[in-house]
């Protein structure tokens, strides 16, 4: 009787600990093979849009949020590809306003432990080209932005949930700015245009 009681308690514990300690692998999608998104937009007026991508739900996999809100003139192109293994995202755009336009992007890679965020507010004009690539082994964030307004950039690289915070970066740039930035973690061949 005692043995059965012990087994009843121990077995779920063993299963739970095995689940918690198993290495992070690919997200397991059952139905969707991949998602592709090609979007071109020209607008003179008011815009409020947001796109959210993730390879896994909860605190796992890779995430990306991008959005634009406000009034002005916007010409932007987005390309996204997401599958179980990771995601690629590019936003290229020209934004003009009388200071009432905001654009922001945040990308996280829980498998590698990296995050980057960029936001642009009070945009008079902004020409941006942001390229994000992240999978379970590598994160590459490339930002090229030129404009007049307020730009805020931030990034963090951490060696997994229990590891050291290797890099922390935060910057606020107000006025006329031209920013070229590339942050990478992991190993991959990449050839950025900067």
């Amino acid at each position: 009787m005692g043995f059965i009681m012990k087994a009843r308690v121990l077995l779920p514990l063993i299963v739970l600990s095995a689940m918690l300690t198993s290495p992070t692998g690919l997200a397991a999608w059952s139905i969707a093979g991949n998602v592709t998104d090609h979007s071109y937009l020209y607008l003179s007026g008011y815009i409020d849009e947001m796109k959210i991508y993730q390879t896994d739900s909860g605190i796992a996999g890779q995430k990306l949020v991008v959005g634009t809100e406000g009034s002005g003139t916007v010409a932007r192109r987005q390309t996204a590809y997401v599958d179980e293994g990771g995601m690629f995202f590019n936003e290229w755009g020209v934004f003009q306003s009388e200071g009432d336009l905001r654009n922001a992007l945040c990308a996280k890679n829980y498998a590698v432990g990296t995050v980057i965020s960029e936001s642009y507010t009070e945009i008079e004009y902004l020409i941006k080209d942001t390229v994000i690539f992240q999978d379970d082994n590598v994160s590459i964030y490339t930002i090229a932005s030129e404009g007049r307004g307020t730009a805020r950039l931030g990034a963090r690289v951490r060696d997994g949930p229990e590891g050291a915070t290797i890099m922390t970066y935060g910057g606020t740039y107000i006025g006329d700015f031209n920013i070229r930035q590339e942050i990478g973690s992991g190993s991959a061949l990449y050839l950025p245009c900067l």
């Binding site: 590698v112 590891g163 290797i166 890099m167 606020t172 107000i174 920013i179 992991g186």
Partner: protein
């Protein structure tokens, strides 16, 4: 007026290496290359370390102020070393970022002494503010702050 013009030219190259390797589990290395040109106001900071706490190598670089700046940072960090190179030209010119005049103040602070987390937020000089904070302290502390407004917002956690 020439005395108020600050010309600063920096070229800094640092390579820090620790006697023993840090033991990273996930990250293999971190590379960063950043070039900015700015005419206005900037406030930036770069922090690197190979290990937490009083161990390994650490490096902090920051610059703040107004004027015209051109600077390039190139850095590489792995378990064994931090390599950091900054090259820049900074000219001082006065620049005052727009701040709204308003004495609306808001603050929130939540602590969980058991787990050891603190989050605080304060808003000052706001023209408008839409705020929806959420703090759950039952089992796992979750602090979620969603705010939109114009003015100065201060958030912190430690």
């Amino acid at each position: 007026m020439t005395a108020r013009v600050l010309l600063l030219l920096i070229v800094l190259l640092v390579t820090l290496s620790s006697p023993g390797l840090a033991d990273w589990n996930v990250s293999k290395n971190v590379t960063q290359r950043s070039t900015i040109f700015l005419r206005g106001y900037m406030d930036e900071i770069f922090i690197y370390q190979t290990e937490e706490g009083l161990a390994g190598s650490k490096l902090v670089y920051g610059s703040r102020g107004s004027g015209t700046a051109t600077r390039t940072v190139t850095s590489y960090v792995d378990e064994g070393e931090i390599s950091f190179n900054v090259q820049g030209e900074f000219f001082y010119q006065p620049y005052t970022p727009q701040t709204s005049e308003n004495d609306l103040l808001r603050a929130l602070r939540a602590k969980n002494r058991e787990v050891g987390t603190v989050v605080s937020e304060s808003y000052a000089g706001g023209v408008y503010l839409i705020n929806d904070p959420l703090a759950s302290q039952n089992d796992v502390p979750v602090y979620q702050i969603s705010s939109q407004g114009r003015g100065a917002a201060r958030l912190g956690t430690w």
